[in-house]
Amino acid sequence: MMAGSDDIRLRPRRPAAAPPAARRAELQRRRRAAGEPRTRMQVLALRLALPLVLVALWAMAAHSPGVAPVLPGPEAVLATLWQMTTSGELFVHVAASLQRAFAGFVVAGIIGVTIGLAMSQSRLVNDILAGPVELLRPISSIAWIPLAILWFGIGFNSVVFVIVASCVFIILLNTLAAAQNADRDLVNAALTLGATPRQIFTKVTVPSAMPGIMLGLRIAMTGAWGGVLIAEMIATREGLGYMIVRAQASYRPDIVIAGMIVIGMVGYALNRLFLALQRRITHV
């Protein structure tokens, strides 16, 4: 019962009623004039055309003499992908990468949101922390990798440190901006109604900053996924980043390309997952 009513509330508003026939015809005429495709089938064909052409080109290039060793064909890559999936090898690497990315992301999220909210609530805290933040922020995450290895050695801790460095500032600054831009009128209204500062913070500032915070977290998650891969290329013995660098060293381009495909798919899935989460949290 409860879940059902929740569902209805969360669903986006229905679009307005369909336009009348005359207007629809006019719209279609205009679309055609603008060179837009007409039917659903045409759209589908259009969208499939270029990917198919690219795969065909890839296959042709792979099978032309002289190229074969550096560029395996699509079928060879698919076979490798299948073999690595069934042997379970792929899951070990994917799980390792995801685990590290998640750990770093959570740590960065806790630090970034806490400090961001603290800075938004006090001028003094804001001014004091602004110095170190502005000083450390331009140092790109990549530049932390050698130092991380010197400090933590090769392994889990180094990678997590690099991920935290690569996403904490995005989260912090988005949280700060979102909390500072919390609706003034709402805050004033709450004040007039006799809310305590604590109530204003938990009931007004944080909820109205939520969309901005979530946006920062989503951008940071892409950063975390990139950070984990590059850190794994240098500072670990497992994970997707390590897998493709290892494959490159042992001259297995099929594994490299299979790994790239998996990296893209996981990145896409993470993005979709987070978009769904974002919609859920900001709409409630």
Binding site: S140, I145, L150, Y268
Partner: protein, 251 residues
């Protein structure tokens, strides 16, 4: 009105923050006998900086990285912006390209590094390819959106006044997307700067990224930290430069 005292206060407190949260813990760590491999002292840093300047190591590494990143970035701009304009104008082409763009967008630039090594070895080609790829998509999508967002009435007005297609493009459409383009270029350059460091870290014999991994292997933490400072400064300078350009265009 009271901006000046506020700025002075913010700067003073910012400096205090740096002293309290970075310099003080660092000094305490050094004084309490942390090994220089973990954290070198200020003197060791200065010493290393002097050595790097005398031997030209730092300048050479910086120069190599800067040339690479600027070339790759320019390559990304001259390919992504025209394609973005074309795709933004034509819904048909946009529908055809979108699935390809969407799928490549998620294959992050770092993932191309091993393949670039297999294809190009450690030659400059591989590095340029990585930088180009990193900047390309960051530029392409905002360009498409900017072109799609151009005010149609403006174009129609220009056409009514008898402007030719070229005039409309150069005098109406292009100026309309410049602010968005500059913003995209600022983001893209930052991404390119990260990408070249990553490529140099994994596969190179020169550049700032190579300098700091090499120093790490030799346990020269001073050199690693100096490299990080230079990397941060260059990123900040380019960022400030693009912000300047953006302001210039807005007025």
């Amino acid at each position: 009105m009271s901006d000046r005292p506020n700025l002075a206060r913010a700067l003073a407190l910012g400096a205090l923050g740096v002293l309290l949260l970075i310099v003080l813990p660092w000094t305490l760590a050094v004084l309490s006998g942390v090994r220089p491999i973990i954290l070198p002292s200020g003197w060791q840093l200065l010493d290393a900086a002097g050595f790097l300047m005398r031997t030209d190591t730092l300048l050479h590494a910086t120069w190599v990285s800067l040339v690479r990143v600027n070339l790759g970035f320019l390559l990304a701009v001259v390919t992504a912006v025209p394609l973005g304009i074309v795709l933004g104008r034509s819904p048909l082409l946009f529908a055809a390209f979108e699935p390809v763009v969407e799928s490549f967008r998620f294959v992050i630039p770092f993932a191309w590094i091993p393949l670039a090594i297999l294809w190009f070895g450690t030659s400059e080609f591989g590095k340029l390819f990585i930088i180009w790829y990193a900047g390309f998509f960051v530029l392409l999508l905002p360009t498409i959106e900017a072109v799609q967002g151009i005010d149609k009435d403006l174009i129609a007005a220009a056409r009514t006044l008898g402007a030719t297609r070229w005039t409309i493009f150069w005098r109406v459409a292009f100026p309309a997307i410049v602010p968005d383009l500059l913003l995209a270029m600022r983001v893209a350059f930052a991404v390119c700067w990260i990408a070249i460091l990553a490529a140099e870290l994994v596969a190179s014999r020169a550049g700032l990224g190579y300098m700091i991994t090499d120093a790490r292997e030799l346990l020269q933490t001073e050199v690693v930290i100096i490299g990080m400072v230079v990397i941060g400064c260059i990123g900040a300078i380019y960022n400030a430069f693009f912000i300047r350009l953006q302001r210039l265009v807005q007025y």
